[in-house]
């Protein structure tokens, strides 16, 4: 029970940090989106997570999977466009994987389910200059770090964030094949994809929050079981 409470607190802290970071990054995302999209990604994501923070208040005592599901539903109802269903739908779909709470295994499963829904719905694959270019390396790195390298969740998350960062840089020279940017053809070259950039921001915020709310002793005690950081990468 105590563990669940601790996880729940960590999840709330992470979500609140994501909202704060997206609010700060609003001009940056809008600038990226005005180069190759329709200039509303910053305000959409900011408004979306503002609503998330309001809505999850009702979930203070809920199970982790229900809290995460509520995040997805709030994004679907508030963000609109393509980003709403891509972020919200994928989170909603993947939330089932957390029905037993946060464990290294469940968070890996969350990441895989998130990526699966994202590629299925958006029809994009790596190299199309979309958020998939950030999510795919993050999920694969996280899974490998947990399953093959036996790393604690927080370290695995840090590696996943690095992978996502490289993924965002990887979108710069690409010509977009999916989404609105694809209609710009060669003019899309030389710009970061806004969806990949917002994905990275979210992962960074979750990692940061995990680092704040866990100390070394927590990690040692809990090396094989659920810790906060895991939850996030998937978002």
């Amino acid at each position: 029970m105590e563990k669940t409470d601790r996880q729940r607190e960590a999840v709330f802290a992470a979500i609140e940090n994501v909202a704060a970071r997206l609010a700060e990054a609003k001009p940056y995302l809008t600038e990226l989106d005005s180069a190759i999209g329709d200039a509303d990604h910053g305000s959409n994501m900011d408004r979306g997570f503002e609503t998330v923070v309001e809505k999850i208040e009702e979930e203070r005592d809920s199970d982790i999977d229900d809290i995460i599901k509520a995040v997805g539903v709030a994004l679907i109802s508030e963000v609109g466009g393509a980003a709403g269903p891509l972020y919200g739908g994928s989170i909603m779909h993947a939330s089932d994987q957390l029905s037993e709470g946060l464990t290294p295994e469940s968070t890996v499963a969350f990441g895989e389910a998130y990526l699966e829904k994202l590629t299925d719905r958006g029809g994009a694959s790596v190299g199309d200059k979309t958020m998939v270019d950030a999510v795919t390396p993050a999920v694969h790195t996280y899974k490998k770090s947990i399953e093959n390298d036996d790393l604690p969740a927080q370290e695995a998350l840090a590696k996943a964030v690095d992978a996502a960062r490289r993924g965002v840089e990887f979108t710069v020279p690409l010509r977009a094949n999916k989404g609105r940017a694809s209609y710009l053809g060669w003019r899309s070259v030389g710009h970061k994809d806004p969806g990949a950039a917002s994905t990275l921001l979210i992962l960074e915020a979750i990692l940061e929050s995990a680092e704040d709310s866990l100390d070394e002793s927590d990690l040692e005690q809990d090396a094989t079981s659920p810790t906060i950081p895991d939850e996030g990468k998937e978002e």
Partner: protein
Amino acid sequence: MKKLLNDPSDVVDEMVDGIVAAYPNRTRRLDDTKVVVRDDAPVDGKVGVVSGGGSGHEPTHAGFVGEGMLDGAAAGEVFTSPTGDELSEMIQACDGGAGVLCVVKNYEGDVMNFDTAAEMAEIEGVDMVEQVVVNDDVAVEDSTYTSGRRGVQGTIFVHKCAGALAERGAAIEEVTRVAEKVVDNVGSMGMALTSCVTPDKGEPTFDIDDDEIEIGIGIHGEPGVERTEIMEADTIAERLTTEVLDDVQPSGEVAVMVNGMGGTPLSELFVVNRRVQELLEDEGLEMWNTWVGDYMTSLDMEGCSVTVLDLDDELKDLLSAPTDAPGFKTK
């Protein structure tokens, strides 16, 4: 630009109230949404047929809500897809236990939000949610808003045929099959004399000179295939009709829609229609029925589109079935 508006950000909300007020015995609004449904929805045992998309295309979509056509229509913000949760509420409200068919125009935001809505509705207990994506715009392969062809005026024939079959009690597989048959046999192409003006922006979406027109334009002001000097109505009718016929390749009887983009007088649409009919006759095609008027508009854009549907007996029967949807007259 002068507009008949209050606060531009309230336009969709106030419009939906106005629609329901105009047809109080036939429609109602779902609480806290911009969804209009048949007053008797859900009809027990009947497949629900629903649609939706951005506002600014009136009478699409709410104008086609009625017996024999749509059970529900969701209005997004101007030129913006409705959100997944509102679409999900519409699906649930129109499920009479036989499933719901969503008629979706091919724009990325619309397709993804309908996908999400179907998933949410299934979680809430709607057994079968099917989706048909309309992509009848023959002008361009890809547009500002979508990979693949855009969905435009042909959507209304899909609403009509699927709605008529659902009204007769057909199963969802059948209703979906007929909707797909219409999609496979319909093509449209539009043109603009002027840009639309969105309420928020208050100025034209794109610049076009007084002596220019744009062929192949989309209903959100997406670029067309050709910017050219202004031409006579007959030349425009020929260009649009020829390209649509090349794509649809009808062989016998056809239905036609000459649609206004919102700012063009009916007199001009009839002038266009006159030439369209001559061209069909020249091609040896038999005109079964024609609809001329504003069906899927682009706010106040001046211009028109031509839609041709290749018919068989089943589609003729369904197109002529009765409906009380205010935006569509059976003839």
